[in-house]
């Protein structure tokens, strides 16, 4: 692939290869984090032979509150630990907002190949511990400060409401997605 002339589009088989690579790299650089996994469409009538029907999934990731330090690049994804880490994480994850109640937010992420946009699309949704969903404003507070800034300026913006994932052979997704805005 000629990187210089590449328009950023991927074929579904390229996505598959990249996805496997991503899983391996994630395990390598984030060994303490839960791994991503491939999920295949389980519907009775599903056309499972197409690679587009597989997607990457990382679910039930809990984010805990951090201490008062407000550096944009700090991040913490884990089970029980609550600590301030100054080290740069290779993968940009959410910062935790100072919270006196120490709320736990649970995140689900799916990375799905979109045949329409020819790119992987990130779908995400968040819940409180009681199962109540978070709205986008609340999710934004979980983002690192630099990401939030990028969010405002970038051409890759969030869709600010529920997105329909059923058109990708998965049952309807009640959450958000980052879709190309070009």
């Amino acid at each position: 692939m000629d990187i210089l002339s590449w328009d950023g589009a991927l074929s579904s088989s390229e996505f598959s290869i990249a996805g496997h690579d991503f899983i391996e790299k994630w395990k390598k650089f984030n060994p303490t984090y839960p791994p991503w996994s491939w999920v295949t469409c389980k519907k009775q009538s599903c056309v499972a032979s197409h690679e587009v029907e597989k997607y990457l999934s990382l679910e039930n990731i809990s984010l805990l509150s951090l201490c008062e330090e407000d550096h944009g690049d700090e991040s913490q994804i884990g089970e029980e630990e609550i600590s301030c880490s100054e080290e740069e994480e290779p993968i940009d994850s959410a910062t935790l907002v100072e919270s006196f109640d120490r709320e736990v937010h649970y995140y689900d992420f799916h990375i799905v190949y979109s045949a329409s946009y020819r790119v992987p699309v990130l779908y995400f949704r968040a819940f409180f511990s009681d199962g109540q969903p978070l709205v986008l404003d609340e999710i934004e507070k979980d983002l690192p400060a630099c990401s939030a800034k990028v969010l405002l300026e970038s051409k890759w913006t969030f869709i600010t409401q529920e997105v329909i994932l059923s058109y990708l052979c998965i049952s309807d997704w009640n959450g958000y997605a980052c879709l190309p805005c070009i």
Binding site: C41, K43, Q44, S45, C46, V47, A48, S49, H50, V52, S114, A115, S116, Y117, I159, Q161, E162, V163, I164, S166, Y167, L168, C169, S171, D172, W173, N174, L179, P180, C181, I182
Partner: protein, 365 residues
């Protein structure tokens, strides 16, 4: 040519008979069902402005969230009404009996709907996606002025084709050109001049936005009324893959070719249908039947014809097409795909195709 077909489509409507769910009726006697003509291209939640006042006196106190259901299946609100009808009523039911609920929104089956705004948002997102597929970017949709966006949406809601065309032409989403359409234009009678402006200078072949609804069955059926019922959304596969048009010199790219590209594993063994002279004449292909009995009969005959031919010619295939339905009609598969795209697409520029496939039992797909 396009104008005529588009007019038919935009005027197309499904007669609905809407019953208030019995558990939500607080009056005696219960209110009679509401009779509504729902635009094919519209969406069910948009009907609530008519339905709510009709039933409001019978409702228990509380907050209303409208949702619809057909034979126990909650209906996905972002699917156009006509598509829901084509998909869920193998044998078209007229009027279509639906149940409306104002309480107990099934959040585990349906994503939330906040009335008109949700539907509008979903529509605009689909339009963006269609623009991206056709042009490689969604610029034209994203740069639409607020007033244009509003006018576009209002034209869809009110079924105003003229207003729709006025705004949507700015989006430059083009039409698909091919020899067939050109030939038809040359051979049709005069007095047809005005509708051709969208043809001139717009050559956009390549990727076509398609939403494919695949319903696979294990048993055979001859009559549509014997078709197994869809009682669960898991029985439908939603395929969202653009169709790719590949033009070859001297050959017409047909609907069959397009479907083959979208579902290769189902089509590789199937012969092209329609070698013998069909019952429907060529001219019938061009007319869009309105929702009346006569066209219904001929469509059914077409399907039976199709099924018989399929069974006689397929011996070793694992799957056979029982039904392909677009905008309520069952086009012959050798119809030029460009005609289908130019004439049968929805206002958000997606072509919605319902397809029923019989898969031999025991096949893992």
């Amino acid at each position: 040519m396009h104008m005529e077909a588009q007019k038919y489509l935009w005027e197309g409507a499904i007669p609905l008979q809407i019953h208030l769910h019995e558990l939500e009726v607080t009056t005696l006697p219960p209110p009679p069902p509401a009779l509504i003509l729902a635009p094919r291209m519209g969406y069910l939640p948009l009907l609530s402005t008519l339905i709510k006042p009709y039933f409001s006196s019978a409702l228990p106190p509380g907050v209303d969230t409208v949702w619809f259901e057909y034979k126990g299946l909650p209906l996905k609100w972002y699917i156009p009404t006509g598509v829901l009808f084509d998909l869920l009523c193998a044998e078209p039911e007229r009027p279509w009996n639906l149940t409306v609920h104002f309480r107990g929104y099934p959040g585990n089956i349906l994503i939330p709907c906040e009335g008109e705004d949700s539907v509008k948002w979903s529509f605009i997102n689909s339009l963006k996606e269609a623009a991206y597929i056709i042009n490689g970017n969604s610029k034209n949709v994203m740069n639409m002025s607020q007033s244009d966006q509003l006018e576009l949406w209002n034209s869809v809601m009110s079924g105003n084709l003229e207003a729709y065309l006025r705004v949507s032409s700015k989006l430059k989403l083009g039409t698909v050109e091919d020899e067939y359409t050109i030939k038809m234009n040359l051979s049709t009678k005069s007095g047809q001049g005005t509708g051709e402006t969208d043809m001139a200078g717009q050559v956009k072949t390549g990727r076509i936005p398609v939403r494919l609804y695949v319903w696979s069955v294990n048993e055979d059926f001859h009559d549509l009324e014997d078709a197994p019922k869809i009682d669960n959304w898991d029985k439908i596969s939603f395929i969202n893959r653009p169709a790719e048009i590949h033009t070859e010199e001297g050959k017409c790219f047909t609907l069959h070719d397009a479907l083959k590209g979208l579902l290769p594993e189902f089509f590789s063994d199937l012969p092209l249908i329609g070698e013998e002279s069909p019952k429907l004449e060529d001219e019938d292909k061009m007319k869009i039947p309105s929702e009346d009995a006569s066209s219904n009969r001929s469509a059914e005959e077409g399907v039976e014809n199709l099924c018989e031919r399929m069974e006689s010619s397929c011996t070793t295939t694992i799957a056979e097409i029982k039904l392909v339905r677009i905008q309520g009609i069952e086009p012959k598969l050798e119809i030029p795909f460009s005609w289908v795209v130019n004439n049968l697409m929805n206002p958000e520029h997606f072509l919605h195709i319902c397809i029923c496939i019989k898969v031999a039992a025991g096949n893992t797909i």
